[in-house]
């Protein structure tokens, strides 16, 4: 499929996704859908570094939370339009990603993963001790009831949903573009064998920095609207391990080598969690995510996409 066709298709689908629940007149779908979309962004962002380059980031929650707290800090100063907050969140988290990349340039595999976890705790401690954004007590954000767009009153949750939908489409387009570009090949060589990559002329250190920055920035963008969605932001919920686990589990379950994997994983796991939260309890649904992650890495280490591809290859041979 041509890139332009893909983008067009994605936008049409997104518009349909936005108007379908409006027809149903059910605001809950917007609330639940927002979370699923948010996970699509997080999973796709994680996968740029984790799936394409093979660097496991345990600190997704920190990038997400930094985006959210950037929005809170700006909001405390003076309320600004959402697109600006998203850009600001992206810039801050992107810079932190770049910084983490620099600190961990020479670290491989396990050490990188541990360092990313360490970075998350350092960030959380900084935020807890930062009184301007509420410290450990948290911060309230009073969101408007609705937004006026072209003299039309749009409920605020729908406005947030639309932005997250935009981010989800954008991150999928970015991921797909990377995959088919020179950058994508470069990332894949880092994942497979860094020394061989360098021998082929791939500037591995620079590509790693590009990946940590992009991945961080996307997570920060996903975090920026969060305070408005949740209404009350505290460090424990923004830095929750749930985000870190989900952004690993979703690509792992969907498959990490292409943009489709995180999408499948996020939609599947995100929806199951939304349903489970309503019908059972939120702790049980988290347990489910953990168990699914463990089961998948043991049984289908290449995720759903990997299993499908292996099956196709086997069929072709037979």
């Amino acid at each position: 499929m041509r890139q332009s066709t893909f983008i067009l298709g994605a936008v049409v689908l997104a518009i349909a996704l936005f108007f379908a629940p409006r027809v149903l007149e059910n605001d809950y779908i917007f609330f639940a859908g927002y979370v699923v979309l948010q996970y699509i962004v997080l999973a796709t962002a994680w996968n740029i570094l984790g799936g394409y380059c093979g660097y496991v980031n345990f600190g997704s929650a920190a990038f997400f939370a930094l985006g959210a707290y950037t929005a809170v800090a700006i909001h405390k100063f003076s309320p600004m339009p959402m697109p600006l907050l998203i850009v600001a969140g992206g810039i801050i988290s992107g810079l932190v990603g770049l910084g983490m990349g620099y600190l961990t340039l020479r670290l491989r595999g396990v050490f990188f993963a541990i360092a990313s976890l360490a970075m998350a705790v350092v960030m959380q401690t900084l935020v807890i001790n930062w009184d301007y954004v509420g410290g450990s007590r948290g911060a309230y954000i009073i969101r408007p009831q609705q937004v006026e767009i072209f003299s039309y009153q749009l409920p605020y949750i729908q406005y947030l949903f639309a932005w997250m939908l935009f981010l989800a489409v954008a991150s999928l387009v970015i991921a797909r573009t990377i995959e088919r570009s020179k950058l994508g090949y470069g990332f894949a060589t880092i994942r497979d064998d860094e020394q061989a990559a360098e021998a082929c002329g791939v500037p591995t250190l620079r590509l790693k920095l590009i990946a940590t920055t992009m991945s961080g920035a996307l997570m920060g963008m996903a975090g920026a609207p969060f305070p408005y969605y949740i209404g009350y932001l505290e460090p424990a919920s923004a830095f929750s391990l749930t985000y870190a686990v989900n952004s690993i589990a979703m690509p792992m379950i969907g498959g990490t080598t292409s943009w489709v994997g995180p999408l499948i994983g996020a939609v599947l796991l995100g929806t199951v969690q939304q349903v489970a939260t309503v019908t059972i309890s939120s702790a049980v649904n988290l347990l489910l995510v953990g168990i699914l992650l463990v089961v998948f890495v043991i049984i289908a280490p290449n995720g759903i996409m990997g299993a499908v591809q292996a099956w196709q290859r086997k069929r072709r041979k037979a």
């Binding site: 060589t189 064998d193 360098e198 021998a199």
Partner: protein
Amino acid sequence: MTAPLLEIQGLGKRFGGFVALDNINLSVAPQERVGLIGPNGSGKSTLVNCICGTLRNETGTVRFEGKAMDGLLAHERTRLGMARSFQLPRPFKTLTVAENLRVPLLYTVDARSGSKLSQRELDERCMELLALVGLADKAWQYPGDLTQVEMRKLELARAMAAEPKLLIADESMAGLSHSEVDDILALLVRLNERGITIIMIEHIMRAVMTFSQRVIVLVSGKKIADGLPEDVIRDPEVVGAYLGQ
């Protein structure tokens, strides 16, 4: 004699207290075929790593086309025209055979010329290289499906894709059968005929003797001989080192 393509002066490398390379001096002329031999652990691979920038040498300089390589990273040296194959083949296992060759084309050839190859040019170059090494029909397979000798060929083809001036082939024939060795040898000779300087690191003496115009011997990190193949193998010091005296 023309100006050397590769010149190494006073090169030294330590790992902690262990001296891996000690004051190595050598030069390689353009289009030369040089064999580098030595017992296991004599520092051959360390030397390759220092030449290619994978490891940093503590003392001495590596000059390539008269230019000092100090501080240049591995990928920058590749772009200047050095290429290597690895002792154990290290293909990009999640990319197809053809895609493996695309990487140096995208990251070295494009970067060097400053222009972008089109998709069609890329495909053509890949197929041309694969035809050269005899892997054309495996283009869309994954490296995991290749045999040992095919893997070695892929390794060489990938090094070649970067259009190097100097190719360092690190034990490209270890573990291959008699006829497979001949296969790879013929390939290396063909590459040399195209004007590429080749340093061959090898244990198989038959291959080294037929291929090399000159042989260099490393023993415990020191160069102990450098000359015509037939002279070198008669050198008492070399014989001693190989017989373990």
